[in-house]
């Protein structure tokens, strides 16, 4: 395993590589087609470079443990807006997630519906491309249209375009309180309709999830509200009014229970420790119930129905089962042989695939950075 300690060494390691490199952050997000190559760790590039709470911005070296960033932000009552999922429970991995790994996978959680994805909060990157060249893009200010936006491109590129060495984020203030409006007993279709009504209301819903089989086996739909206490109380009441008639509605205000419920959605806890492959399907919310019906396995809806987590028997080709649909399906958890035989990422139409391939060749002409991981 190569373990450079700074950006210059990282650049030298890539420039001097004679074969494929397998990029390693915290090693907790084993997503994608398995990569064979020499390990290249970002662990040596760690530390918070700059944090300006009054400007809502933070700049961090890529190998920094996520937990360290979250502690620093919490000390100023701030947070990463996109509520990143912790993949360890679902994937059965160990270790400490890094901030760079988070960006490479563009990890977002339930708050994505309100505050955007990881890529929306990411405002700057430094990376080493496949030639070993150090490139910066974006910066540390939240409004910046100078030149092309490679920041978004790097988010979710799974290390195939460059090795991230530094990332900068826009952050948000933490909240005083949160509450969860809970509806019991809805069908998938009724749940998505209710979530759409809530997300289409002015009450600033920051999470909308549905499980057909909650803790006691019955369907539960959850809508989260965050903010100052009076405001949350007001909006909970309004939301309850708006959704009246949709089944039994209660408002959960216990902070521990609310936090636990959303962590469960964020980390897809209902599928932890259960046999089977896990797929992540992204569609427009109203297509969610149909996707669930076609998939046939256990499901969990997040993002108002637009993100469908599916648990199916090992080796299932979910895409074959779904047929044509508008959106994409990604195989998140499966045995290596399944990930090696089924495309992990949704195959792209030819013209899009040509652009993708063209970008890979430009940024990594030797094809050494996590080769094949996004197939």
């Amino acid at each position: 395993m190569l373990s450079p300690v700074d950006e210059r060494e990282m650049s030298e390691a890539v420039a001097g590589a004679e074969g494929p490199l397998r990029l390693v952050g915290g090693g907790t997000r084993a997503i994608g087609r398995p990569v064979v190559g020499e390990g290249l760790s970002t662990a040596g590039l760690a530390g918070i470079e700059l944090y300006e709470p009054g400007a809502l911005t933070i700049v961090v070296k890529a190998g920094t443990p996520l937990a360290e960033v979250q502690v620093a932000l919490a000390a100023e009552n701030q947070r990463l807006p996109f509520e990143p999922m912790d993949h360890r429970g679902l994937l059965g991995t160990e270790g400490d997630p890094t901030i760079g790994g988070l960006v490479a996978v563009n990890v977002s959680g339930p708050r994505r519906v309100q505050a955007g994805a990881c890529r929306d909060s990411l405002i700057g990157v430094r990376f080493v491309d496949g030639r070993g060249t150090v490139v910066k893009n974006g910066g540390r200010v939240m409004k910046n249209v100078t030149g092309y936006d490679l920041v978004k491109l790097m988010a979710g590129s799974h290390g195939t375009l460059g090795v991230l060495t530094e990332v900068a984020f826009k952050v948000l203030p933490g909240v005083e309180t949160q509450a969860c409006v809970v509806i019991n007993g809805l069908s998938n279709g009724a749940a998505v309709a209710a979530m759409s009504r809530a997300l289409g209301s002015p009450f600033e819903v920051s999470g909308a999830a549905h499980t057909p089989a909650g803790v006691d086996g019955h369907p539960v739909t959850m809508l989260r509200l965050e903010g100052f206490a009076d405001s949350v109380a007001y909006r909970s009441a309004k939301l309850k009014e708006l959704l009246a008639g949709d089944g039994e509605i209660t408002v959960e205000t216990d902070p521990v229970r609310v936090a636990a419920a959303w962590q469960s959605v964020r980390d897809v806890e209902p599928f932890h420790g259960r046999d089977g492959d896990v797929w992540r399907v992204s569609v427009k919310p109203s297509d969610g119930p149909d996707i669930a019906a076609r998939a046939g396995g256990d499901v969990l809806f997040d993002w108002g129905g637009g993100l469908v987590w599916v648990l199916v028997a090992p080796g299932t080709d979910l895409r074959a089962q779904l047929g044509d649909f508008a959106g994409h399906a990604t195989l998140i958890r499966a045995r290596e042989e399944t990930r090696a035989s089924l495309p992990v990422f949704q195959p792209e139409p030819a013209p899009v695939a040509a652009l993708t391939e063209g970008l890979r060749r430009q940024f990594d002409p030797k094809g050494i950075l996590n080769p094949g991981i996004m197939s």
Binding site: G54, G147, Y148
Partner: protein, 479 residues
């Protein structure tokens, strides 16, 4: 501003090129008479003008594809144009180029409230997107000040922002999908009504690429439910430092205003003379707006006012009604007009880290004395996006050049303190030659490689964004 010499072979082939374009478009969609092409000689950066070879006004994606295919075959550069409101010269033609205007493509294709998106042709204006959904309680969030006129196509090209970015983000955060026509006529669908990319985030790359990667003909945009209400508080201070500190304290307190606007003394005076909004005579003025129900607004304004009072404001006025809100916004909204009343002005667009505000304003004041040109500052203080307005006299020989040099110095200062050259207007030709102050050659090479993939012959929106000397080799490949 240096522009590449027009290709004589294209100029002499004008008749053939125009005839071919006429072959795929209705008669009134091809403009080639010199007295008519002049209408396209510039955008809102009027200091630079050059009439194009021809202008075309397609009505569909298929027509755009046909136009691009012909231009690609003929090696003719194409300059995409939305409404022509760019302040950066993003739609400035070259003499050998065809202007591709999307103004006729302004239909709403699909409105979906359940899934909270609207799909439009990109010639539609920003404000009319909101116009199509507001009676149903929705709006499209990015709100550039030209929103009455500017087209979604241009918003996507420049990744436009607006005053409400602190809460709602800019164009890229509200764009779900595009139909992109590549220079060779290939039509590509990227994204859709779902929220995230399945592979590489090409959508994020296209947004803000200044029309250099393809022509976006249709867009799927996120629409949001309108808040129940919004009201501002006006706060005046006797020092920029204190106003800056107040902004920082508000943000740290956990309130997320929808807008924090800042005006300095020269700007306050000019707008007071012009609009008589009743602003206090002070060094720095803040307008902080929050959203929600009436009681939620009261509570948030209460928190903000409490913080503001700790810094001893010379004035603090919470709006209690729509009339009071309008009065508070009146001066800010007429700031550009007020400055224009005094003289010609150039509007800059750098972004700085918010905490550098006092230092940057002091330096701008010093430079203003050195250059002998007045400057007023309007500033989206929440996100650090500054709009210094430099006053000059276009009829006075040398004044424009002096103003441009002053502007360049301000933008370099923005970069020096950790900011950037442009927060929401784009590079265009205006900031093209300053790119080297923010980016290394390697940084720019990486960006130009993207252009090589999407438009290998570098025909789309030529001579913009990258300094000519830096892009020579890439454009040379084309020749």
């Amino acid at each position: 501003m240096e522009m590449p010499a027009p290709n004589p072979a294209i100029l002499s082939a004008k008749a053939r090129i125009v005839a071919r374009l006429r072959g795929v478009l209705p008669a009134d969609a091809v403009i080639d008479a010199p007295e008519e092409t002049r209408a396209y000689e510039c955008d809102a950066l009027t200091a630079y003008r050059c009439a194009p070879l021809a202008a075309v006004l397609p009505s569909s994606t298929a027509e755009v594809a046909a136009i691009l295919k012909i231009c690609h075959e003929e090696g003719v550069p194409v300059v995409p144009r939305g409404s022509g409101t760019s302040l950066a010269g993003g739609a400035l033609p070259t003499a050998d180029s065809v202007i591709l205007g999307v103004a006729r493509m302004n239909e709403v294709l699909e409105t979906d409230y359940d899934n909270r998106f609207i799909r439009v042709q990109t010639g539609r204006t920003n404000l009319s997107v909101t116009g199509a959904v507001e009676t149903d309680g929705f709006f499209y969030a990015p709100d550039p000040s030209s929103q009455l006129a500017c087209a979604i196509a241009g918003n996507i090209a420049m990744n436009s922002g607006g005053a409400h970015c602190l809460k709602y983000g800019v164009t890229t955060n509200n764009l779900l999908g595009v139909t992109l026509v590549q220079m060779d006529g290939t039509v590509v669908e990227i994204g859709g009504a779902h929220l995230d990319a399945g592979g590489l985030d090409l959508l994020g790359l296209i947004c803000g690429s200044e029309g250099q990667l393809g022509v976006v003909t249709e867009a799927t945009l996120r629409i949001l439910p309108k808040p129940e209400g919004a009201r501002p508080v006006l706060i005046g201070y006797d020092s920029n430092e204190v106003a800056g500190q107040c902004v920082s304290d508000i943000i740290k307190a956990g309130v997320l205003p929808v807008a924090i606007e800042f005006m300095d003394r020269p700007c306050i005076r000019a707008t007071e003379d012009f609009a008589k909004a009743g602003y206090p005579d002070c060094e720095a003025l803040l307008i902080v707006e929050v959203e929600g129900s009436d009681t939620e607004i009261d509570a948030q304004l209460g928190v903000i006012s409490q913080i503001a009072r700790k810094h001893n404001p010379v004035e603090l006025r919470e709006s209690r009604s729509a009339e009071e809100s309008a009065r508070i916004w009146l001066g800010r909204k007429s700031a550009f007009g007020a400055m224009g009343q005094i003289n010609d002005y150039m509007c800059l667009d750098g972004t700085i880290p918010v905490n550098e505000l006092p230092y940057v304003l002091r330096r701008i004041g010093e430079m203003s004395k050195d250059y002998g040109l007045d400057v007023g500052n309007v500033f989206h203080a929440g996100d650090g996006n500054m709009h210094p307005l430099i006053l000059f006299d276009a009829n006075k020989p040398g004044d424009l050049e002096k103003c441009e040099a002053f502007g360049a110095d301000i933008l370099k200062l923005c970069v020096e303190v950790g900011g950037c050259l442009t927060g929401e207007h784009g590079v265009g030709i205006e900031k093209r030659d300053l790119m080297g102050s923010q980016f290394s050659d390697d940084d720019m090479q990486a960006q130009m490689r993207v252009k090589d993939v999407f438009d290998p012959t570098w025909l789309l929106n030529p001579a913009k964004v990258f300094p000519l000397a830096v892009s020579d080799a890439h454009r040379g490949v084309a020749a």
